[in-house]
Symmetry: C2
Subunit: 421 residues, 2 copies
Amino acid sequence: MSDVLARRKRLLGPHVTTFYKEPVHLARGEGVWLWDTDGRKYLDCYNNVPHVGHCHPRVVKAIAKQAATLNTHTRYVHDGILDYGEALTAKFDHDLTSMVMVCSGSEANDVALRMAQAVTGKTGVITTDNTYHGNTSAVSQLNSSKTPIGGFKDHVKRVPAPDNMAPVGGTRAGQAAAFAEAVKSAIAELAASEHGLSALIICPYFANEGFPTLEKGFLDEAVAAVKAAGGIVIADEVQPGFGRIGSHWWGHQKLGFAPDIVTLGKPMANGHPVAATITRPEILTAFQDGFKYFNTFGGNPVSAAAAHAVLNVIEDEGLVANAADVGTYAVAQLKELQTRYDVIADVRGSGLFLGVELWRDGKPATEICTAMIDEMRNRGVLLHSEGRYDNTLKIRPPCAFDRGNADLLVETMNAAFEAVQ
Amino acid sequence: MSDVLARRKRLLGPHVTTFYKEPVHLARGEGVWLWDTDGRKYLDCYNNVPHVGHCHPRVVKAIAKQAATLNTHTRYVHDGILDYGEALTAKFDHDLTSMVMVCSGSEANDVALRMAQAVTGKTGVITTDNTYHGNTSAVSQLNSSKTPIGGFKDHVKRVPAPDNMAPVGGTRAGQAAAFAEAVKSAIAELAASEHGLSALIICPYFANEGFPTLEKGFLDEAVAAVKAAGGIVIADEVQPGFGRIGSHWWGHQKLGFAPDIVTLGKPMANGHPVAATITRPEILTAFQDGFKYFNTFGGNPVSAAAAHAVLNVIEDEGLVANAADVGTYAVAQLKELQTRYDVIADVRGSGLFLGVELWRDGKPATEICTAMIDEMRNRGVLLHSEGRYDNTLKIRPPCAFDRGNADLLVETMNAAFEAVQ
């Protein structure tokens, strides 16, 4: 391992991150399982990219078949992107019937921001103060984790992220109204600036914010304020999308609002690099009028085939219903675990996107959370952390996760809490 | 066809471009050949993405095998990216031994610009006045084809692109010195501005500029001026790279200068969405110190396997030497064609990246060029145009192109010129 880490450092730089004190050196994956180079088996409770399971044979077959048949760009006509696009947009309400296919969620959000600019003629963006929407120069201005060289630009206004343990406005009941007030203030600030209001961009599950428990309608007032001010609402569905949350295909459906633009990424093709920006036809037209945009790899026949296979597997294997069933089962067990360990302050989530937040002595228990992650890894279960203080265990497995997998997860967590607390 | 075009328009927007008056509806590809849905066969003289040939079996096999074994991100340790990265960086001189793998050439250039910012603390960029380096918000500021909404930012200074028919400074002999003078003026302008000099970004083959014929050393004075002023030199090798130009693996080697950063894209994995930014270790470290950057799909095991297979095929099939041999053979035939058609003002290129520039009555013959492209398509040979006036036939086939393919290309061009001139 020391040799391979030295090679990584030399080639990929000294600051390239690995998960875990003892990084996992992977060799193979299948379903919800991963194996390292020593043949040790791990239960994957973290990776959302292999949405329908690591190396799903139908996705592999679709990729192999199309790669052997044709792979070229969209300046030639090909049925693959059309068949996929029609199947995908059928999963949306609210006239979201047009799309741009790209290679990463970052590119999808970069396009979405320009769509909003094209419609509004403005550049100001509202987002939360604890978020991540990708890594292009433009999109990374939205992130809150590290100030880039040259600083953050003042066209981005940040509103406090909703939170279960420290709600905006002080109470969970008042959080929606307090959040809406913050958005209204940001709208007013942008309106008074040279930038004007272009868009609100938000993950409708607030995934990077720690996915607090929010009622349907939570965003209604904020969304209405943005729309009333002429702004565009962008739902970044990279994390909650494709049925992971169990109750719905998309996070914005669960919260019950109608975004103007939806962006998709990571799980879309089970790891093949593909992403998309979905919108209404008139917004796509405004974007194409305002910006010349062509993406060489975006929507190529192999990417379309991979993504279409994922869509079909989700349907055929009933993975949305599975996420709902296994997620509910896991939450019940995690809540039972909570009765045994004081450090567990909150258990939450929807479908197969769950969090176990740790506090001790009235403070976020970040160190215990970090210790738990490494202890779980050493016991053969892979998960990681989330939230403003990195004190929430983030459980976000492939959607083929079953009740037996949930049992193993909770049993292992029980033993790990015994060891680290 | 009208049905499929209507579906495209509905799903992908009214302005999504297709090549040719009568778009080609593709079904299958193999080597240098493409077939449409009616079974008609086309000689592909344009596509550089399928660098080692459409659907090359070794690349398909590598993708299928790795997709069935493991596909995950670089926060776990995997040998694939290391094996590939070492093999790739061995192809570079000048200590370009570190890399960031991403999903598109646009992402690669977006990263490169931030690397230059990290090293210099400045943001000003010099590029040519007829170029394209990608489609992210930041990178599209470099493009010259369409003014984006909000206008171009003034941190980009454009210098006149070198040209065979209308050389910078008036003569081909004086073009290098005139180009260097323009770069020095841009450096001075940026130094006097709030932006300062960050980078010169240039395609070392000036591919989008129409790939004029340039002597080794053409950029020496300009590059020296940028380096003397503390700037970073970025070579965008997305088009000339991977041996296409026949004489060398990379365009900057042909011109004989040492870039600080090299970006790679389209041909890197024969169409699988992968790209990279290659640089010296200290520049990568400065970038990682200055920006938090992680790319979920970048450098995943399947992308690394696809790219590694391409590298191996280039070596094992001797495609660099093939590009040199077939390119030289094709240029000789195209020059013979030039003696027969007055409209051919210039034949140029290196390896399998060739141009036939058309002028009539002392003016760029854009209409004849457009007519030629459609005529060639109707005769079963796919190519397209390039240059400031879109009056240069751009010939840039997969690198498995052989002398027989070149014969067919030139014979077809002969017949097409008879028909359209």
